[in-house]
Symmetry: C2
Subunit: 305 residues, 2 copies
């Protein structure tokens, strides 16, 4: 008799707190059953030109970039990767229940690694125009935004009144660190959320993508003991072997990753399977799901389908 | 120029998404300024009889138990600790963005460590009566429950219509693993939330307390590669040196921990300082805070005040 908490690492209403969750459909499929029944068209290939491979001694972390949300930052990050900017730099910060962050640890401007072809300063890209931007809306209420959902597969929020949308700080979100000035980021300092979604950062900093593979290589890093979780000693920093665009890697060194599309009936069914859990273990289906609890499955493309 | 994401590890609207966050008060204090101005009466001493010390090779993790929420489970956990039940057992599971879990790794009932004076089975304590139970309500909307707040200092939710309350699965929540039967837990298998709040577990499993010190010793553990994040090999498990009640330790070996009270004007000011961040870095205060983003400060009692 092994007591377990049933899995929710891949988790998946309309109103705040459904007092009576809807009755179970005659045949509610589990997330695994839904994924097993997926068709090739339910998945999309990641674009190698917008995929970053962060190579650590412990292995690989893969990030999908979001050019539709932060075009200038993504262009700069691509220039930095092409210029081998991060190779030999390090992860310098790991703050529990918040973020891991990497870049140039040098404090003094004069000692910092040159940015090469990349720009030193970019406009803030905290939000983007909602008009024409993809947005697959969740019906669930959210305290941080009028609407939440997925934009090109990334957790996102939208304010129709203002005509703006933005990527949300869920677990795995990748953003561009900045100073006090809103336009002080250039993408050379990147952070990844490794804790409870810090949604207060939404609309305050530029989100550039999300981790789609290997986040556990970041989330287990020893926490820094300095202010804000910075490592206090140089030898505590975690070396970065390289960061490369997938399009720069030989095809055989890329992972053939696919993400589940968020604009399909299959995805809607998957979300519902997590909003109201119907397996025997659950006594009380929640009748709600938070944006940051929705699973966004990623797989390696099957060799035959 | 070091670009950072400003700290939110200790994070702090009444309605969903305030379109216009309230204007800043003339002198909005930061969380640190508020804590620095706190009086001794703003803090409460942890009760050593309801405090667990989990000793690992890497150091100490301290848990505050919640007897008002789960009296039978807490009584059983106290009996297990007094009987040295966990000493020599191990952490057997670490699932990324979900939980770390410990107990007896033996699969077969016959090989499992005897529970001693503790009971083998307890009633489910998924909720408790709201009447008379402490509850310091947050005004912020929540999708998982009609009301959220803090009950005796623990993140909690409440349904006035049904007259029930329950502890919420926020980062650091400690719960009692169970099998499919609702009354199959006894507190010998405990898990800690180390990722995005899995609130779908609320009202489905018994929450017994929360980690108040040293959670980073759990959150950095290597993730298990078996199903549900269980370690696949015995040597991967993390040994537990001991688990003791504070009241069983010599006074000199206890930490003199104090938690910030949640029923004070000072705490309300602290929450507001996190709901609407007023420092120079933030461009757009959120006008909202999620239950699981509210900081619950814990300190060692000052030797003089």
């Amino acid at each position: 008799m092994r007591r377990v908490v049933l899995t929710a690492a891949l988790f998946a209403a309309a109103t705040a707190f459904a007092q009576q969750p809807p009755a179970a459909p005659a045949k509610a499929r589990s997330m695994q059953e839904i994924l097993d029944a997926s068709a090739p068209a339910d998945w999309r290939d990641l674009d190698p030109a917008n995929t970053l491979y962060l190579e650590l001694d412990s292995g690989r972390v893969v990030i999908e970039l979001a050019p539709h949300a932060a075009p200038e930052h993504v262009a700069n990050i691509r220039a930095l990767a092409k210029g081998r900017y991060w190779d030999g730099l390090s992860i310098n910060r790991a703050q529990d229940n918040f973020v891991v962050q990497w870049g140039d640890p040098a404090e003094e401007e004069a000692k910092r690694k040159p940015l090469g072809e990349a720009k030193a300063r970019l406009p803030a890209e905290f939000t983007f125009g909602a008009k024409g931007a993809p947005f697959d809306r969740l019906p669930d209420v959210d305290g941080w935004a009028p609407e939440v959902g997925f934009s090109a597969g990334f957790p996102a929020a939208r304010d129709p009144r203002r005509g703006i949308a933005w990527l949300a700080h869920c677990y795995g979100a990748v953003g561009a660190g900045r100073d006090v000035a809103p336009d002080s980021s250039n993408g050379s300092e990147l952070y990844v959320v490794i804790g409870q979604s810090p949604r207060q950062l939404d609309r305050n900093i530029t989100v550039v993508g999300r981790v789609v593979h290997g986040i556990e290589r970041l989330s287990v890093l020893p926490r820094g003991t300095g202010p804000l979780g910075f490592y206090e000693k140089a030898e505590q920093r975690v070396p970065i072997r390289s960061i490369r665009l997938g399009s720069e890697l030989p095809a055989g060194e890329r992972l053939p990753l696919q993400a589940l599309r968020t604009d399909t009936a299959l995805f809607a069914e998957l979300v519902e399977s997590r909003r109201n859990r119907r397996d025997a273990w659950y006594q009380t289906p929640a009748g709600h799901i938070d944006l940051c609890n929705v699973p966004l499955p990623v797989r390696e493309k099957p060799t035959k389908q």
